[in-house]
Subunit: 159 residues, 2 copies
């Protein structure tokens, strides 16, 4: 069974978001081995300077790098990434699953991801031109992964 | 205080989605009078024909029409709508709020919205090229409305 690693920053604060993630994790267990890695984000003041932000992103990048499983296809989630339809994303999942490639998705903190991570990723993906809380974003991505597997098995979940 | 009507089809089945909507409704009460209208979708079989779908969408359109408040700026959520950044969407909220215009947002059932509704709307908005469950979509839209108000008051919520 293919392994999907989701690297995220920060714990989910809201119970409804944890419940949503748990629900999708349960549903996904039929299709992949899901590993959600929650790293501790670097603490920043209320109004950090750009250099404080850059330095935090760099430290976070080092933590993230260590948790990317060797040989997995790495996708960074970022607003400048490519927008996919759900069908295109399903085809991406299908291609990797069929060639036995594990996948790793990376969602940054509320300040995003350092360019270091974006550059070392195989793909950059955008879910929306809008900015969402990175915590809700986690639910949105898991839903698209689940939807992708359902599309690939020809289910009516996705109409 | 400006009134925002959100017309949706179907009750939220999952508790975590109801909790999420309640949370955003609470937060939004500082900025607008939010009215969430939940209409009962037309029942369809597991694999409906296109004409069954069209007929259901038409009946749903009639129910929706009756609930659109007179004089409000109407936005239909649909995949062929315009993609906005959060800042552009905030500017849209700001413009209507400043001119005292109530707003109405319409989210269809899992089969979408009839062309009748799309044509009578003032705007068509797309949150993503991807398809999301219309129930999760409700949370995503409320989050963007909340984010928009926070952007407009110059808060640090949106970085």
């Amino acid at each position: 069974m293919i392994k999907i690693t989701l690297i995220t920053l920060g714990k989910l604060k809201e119970k409804y978001l944890r419940d949503a993630v748990d629900e999708y994790a349960k549903r996904l267990s039929r299709y992949c081995k899901l590993d959600v890695v929650e790293l501790t984000p670097i603490n920043l003041s209320e109004k950090p300077s750009q250099s404080e932000i850059d330095s935090a992103l760099l430290k976070e990048a080092e933590m993230i790098e260590k948790r990317i499983p060797d040989g997995s296809v790495v996708t960074a989630l970022c607003v400048e990434g490519k927008a996919n339809t759900s069908e295109q994303f399903a085809a991406f999942l299908d291609k990797n699953t069929n060639s036995g490639k594990n996948m790793c998705f990376i969602i940054g903190s509320s300040y995003g991801l350092s360019s270091q991570i974006k550059q070392r990723s195989d793909f950059k993906l955008s879910l929306s031109e809008m900015t969402f809380p990175h915590q809700l974003f986690r639910v949105m991505l898991l839903e698209q992964i689940y939807r992708g597997f359902k599309i690939n098995e020809g289910s009516t979940y996705h109409k």
